[in-house]
């Protein structure tokens, strides 16, 4: 029996009426679980509330109704046991790569020698060896996102939430980062909950894909992806599945 790391139970989010606009239900009746060690992707069109949902699970935001759990404890605020990787990276520009990556354990006063070793391990794993003393402003978009990923890993969370981490990268850098994240996940098997609106990206990375409808969102479909890894974007199985899932995604022309 696989164990559950996080779970959502009938989550609903409604933004109150404002400026003469009626209240807006972003999503409702969202229930799913995240299993230990899996790479779970939430796939949905723009503005379907994916980021809001991650914010609720990580503890930045609270639902209108329903409960998010981590390790069977209701989420009531942020906790280092849940890490987040943001699309816009949110690195501290005044800290070096190394200081950004080790910010969490350092702020919590953990043993310096232990977290330094771990910091270096993750900097190496994301391919930033030699850039430890660089400031974020000197890094390319892809490299900044590597720092964000190393930072999340360095906290050793139970679950890492990733909110369209590669959304702002150009297509080729994005493919490269997908390959690297796939390798990192295969090496470490952390539990990852990854949000994207890119079907190809979802299929390339996921063990499981949950498809959201457009707003007001609900869960529309779920796919278990058992294509062998590393996956090939042009293999017939991959393209067939891509076509099948593409048909499930709401188009907002």
């Amino acid at each position: 029996m696989e164990s559950t790391v996080a779970r959502c139970e009938k989550l609903k989010k409604e933004f109150p009426a404002s400026g003469g606009r009626p209240p807006l239900v972003v999503f409702e009746d969202i229930s799913f679980e995240v299993r230990r060690g899996e790479f779970l992707v939430l796939l949905g069109p723009g503005q379907c509330g994916k980021t809001t949902l991650l914010n609720i699970i990580v503890g930045h935001d609270s639902p209108t109704s329903g409960i998010a759990y981590e390790n069977e404890k209701p989420v009531t605020g942020t906790n280092p046991s849940r890490g987040m990787v943001y699309q816009d990276t949110r690195l501290f520009p005044w800290l070096t790569v190394q200081k950004n990556v080790e910010y969490g354990p350092a702020a919590r006063g953990e043993d310096r020698e232990t977290y330094r070793k771990r910091t270096q391990e993750y900097i190496d794993l994301v391919g930033l060896t030699g850039f430890e003393k660089h400031y974020p402003v000197k890094l390319s978009g892809g490299m900044k996102q590597r720092v964000g990923i190393a930072r999340a890993y360095c906290n050793q969370p139970n679950i890492i939430l990733m909110d369209e981490p590669f959304g702002a990268l150009d297509a080729q850098t994005r493919y490269m980062m997908q390959e690297e994240l796939g390798k990192l996940w295969q090496a470490k098997h952390n539990t990852i909950l990854f949000v994207t609106n890119n079907i190809e990206e979802a299929l390339f990375l996921a063990d499981r894909i949950i498809v959201f409808s457009k707003c007001p969102s609900h869960i529309k479909a779920e796919y278990t992806i058992d294509l062998p890894r590393p996956r090939k974007l042009t293999s017939p199985d991959f393209l067939d599945l891509r076509r099948e899932i593409t048909g499930q995604i709401d188009v907002d022309l």
Binding site: P45, G46, A171, Q172, T234, T246, V251, D252, L253
Partner: protein, 227 residues
């Protein structure tokens, strides 16, 4: 040095895709074509004359959409015609292009009321309305999701073939290049040179899952992959 010894020709009515590694100077190249940048050496000819924006009508669709947020959809499209001096048949032309991009119902809307893909289609309608001699498109669908992209790609091919527009289309997305291009120009890393000119023989509409398509896509990918 960004670009070096880039020589090629585009045929009338051709859809030419340019691909290359990130940062290889693709946008700089389009900017040189329109004289937004001056090139250091070399010549750019349109119908065998040096490019002159007073004579030639070059339309440019940028990566970030260049909609004018304070004008309605209809006025955005009309603006393109007016600055080119086509005022007489403007009404009919605006109507026609909005219909082609499926936005007739939204003529009176302001940009803030539209989705990202709709905005990009308004910009495309504005560009096509002026019947450009040459249409430059710099990754217009870069930020759109796959199913939207497929729809807009089909639409742009349809419009180009209908008007016989000559297009230079830049993209990072190799599947898109193989899907759209009559020919594909592959650039190298900086200083960029032309690595290969590929004639795309696949009949339209193209099937992205067909073995021939996949083979061509993989070939282009191998030419570009730097990691």
């Amino acid at each position: 040095m960004v670009l070096d010894d880039i020589s090629f020709d585009v045929k009338d009515g051709e859809f030419l895709c340019i691909v290359g590694p990130t940062g290889c100077g693709k946008t700089t190249f389009l900017n040189s074509l329109t004289k937004l940048h001056d090139n250091n050496s070399g010549e750019i000819l349109l119908d065998n004359q040096a490019v002159d924006l007073r004579k030639h009508n070059i339309a440019y669709i940028f990566q970030e959409n260049s909609i004018m947020s304070w004008l309605t959809v209809e006025k955005n499209v009309r603006f393109g015609l007016e600055i080119k001096g086509h005022t007489r048949d403007a009404d009919q032309k605006v109507k026609e292009v909005l219909e082609i991009v499926g936005l007739s119902k939204f003529a009176g809307y302001h940009p803030g009321q539209l989705s990202a893909s709709m905005l990009q289609r308004v910009v495309i309608a504005r560009a096509f309305a002026t019947n450009p001699d040459l249409m430059l498109m710099d990754e217009p669908y870069g930020q759109l999701d796959i199913n939207l992209r497929f729809k807009l790609e089909d639409e742009v091919v349809r419009i180009c073939k209908r008007y016989g527009t000559t297009v230079i289309f830049i993209t990072h997305n190799l599947e898109e290049a193989v899907y759209l291009g009559d020919r594909i120009l592959v650039l190298t890393n900086k200083p960029s040179k032309i690595k290969e000119k590929i004639v795309n023989p696949l009949p339209r509409p193209r099937d992205v899952t067909s073995p021939e398509f996949v083979k061509l896509r993989e070939h282009v990918t191998d030419l570009i992959k730097w990691w």
